[in-house]
Symmetry: C2
Subunit: 226 residues, 2 copies
């Protein structure tokens, strides 16, 4: 009898399953502004999806502002408040619910691993109609280091009881792809967070699709056969 | 005596001199939503900077909505209203004012050519402290076809009285770069509108810089010598 490698799917959340990146970008702009910091919006965009602490430290280094625990905490609080005000514009990405339903029907294990905290992720899970009681959700609260460290994806594979070498790690940002490489999983990029195709390929994506609907159409290419 | 090619600079406005792309993106999302159309935000982002009419037609084709003159007019009006509500977050891009002041001091002719209409551009010109009475500003109102058609840049070169073959055409979107190629000018890309470096290079940019400040630091590379 031939052995078959079990494929599993580990998903990023913002920009990958939920169309929330641009709202996060403007929420960060408003949070930084409230701290007297003006930073170009595209630079904020290119940092989204990494650990919130690393994110704030990188942004503050770019404007040469002093990084204090107090400032970091204030920024994260203001961001959460501003995001709550914009969340009315957030939708599931096309095909996201269908893709997850397909994997469930096909008995392919899947989980969600996000650099955000559960307090922000819960909005998005509700929009996506995912019940955290029945699907493994790994957040920043569960690990010591978020993306681009591999901890979130490693924890998600552990929670599913699968070998991460057979895991397809789906994300929209270069931080997902770098974390996928460091976790030794297979990075698959989606354009739905606003990065370009080459940015994702150069950071390690083995395939790049438009969005969850496009990934579902090509699911056989990445081991998603029933 | 050696002949010297006169270099001139033709600038796009949104995302190139003014940090307004992400606000335009969310304003279009709100306008589309008000017409009952839900479209992924990254797809809106990748259409910004092209002619508003073409932009709406492309978006509506993607969602297979019927394109009527009435709907197009309604979308453009809703977009302008939503943008007016977000314009408080719009800033000049780093180095934009310095770059324009440098060119003026160096007696290198420059102009602005935008796919937007003067009614929207006027906010941005005020933020940038550019006086339309003393600088050639070409808008959608002045030409039959906006980007990616070359008309805006050709009109800008004409207004300056310069040969477009010696014009450096600076923009943040692939629509600027495609229009620059069709106008036979030299496209220079900026990352400040949120496109990736390769997207701009593949659409014809001979050089790609971060933002106006980065272009000013490297101005000698593109013929900006005094």
């Amino acid at each position: 009898m031939m052995r078959r490698t079990q494929t599993s799917f580990l998903f990023d959340l913002d920009g990958t399953l939920v169309d929330s990146v641009y709202q996060h970008v403007l929420a960060w702009q408003q949070a930084l502004h409230s701290a007297g910091i003006e930073l170009s919006v595209w630079r904020i965009h290119r940092r989204i999806g990494m650990s919130g602490g690393l994110f704030s430290e990188m942004l503050l280094r770019e404007v040469s502002a002093a990084i204090t625990p107090d400032l970091l905490e204030k920024l994260q609080r203001h961001h959460a408040e501003a995001y709550a005000g914009l969340v009315q514009w957030v939708r599931p990405l096309p095909g996201a619910k269908d893709l997850l339903a397909y994997l469930t029907r096909a008995r392919l294990p899947w989980a969600i691993a996000t650099s955000g905290r559960m307090i922000s992720a819960q909005y998005n899970l509700r929009i996506l109609e995912v019940d955290p009681a029945s699907v493994p959700i790994i957040t920043r609260d569960d690990v010591a280091h978020a993306k681009p460290d591999p901890d979130l994806f490693i924890a998600a594979a552990d929670r599913l009881g699968v070998d991460i070498h057979g895991a397809v790690i789906v994300g929209d940002s270069i931080w997902d792809m770098l974390a996928a490489r460091r976790a030794q999983g297979l990075g698959v990029g989606l354009l739905s967070g606003g990065y370009g195709q080459d940015e994702l390929a150069r950071s390690g994506a083995i395939r790049v699709y438009d969005d969850p609907a496009d990934l579902l159409r090509h699911i056989d290419e990445v081991g998603g056969r029933v």
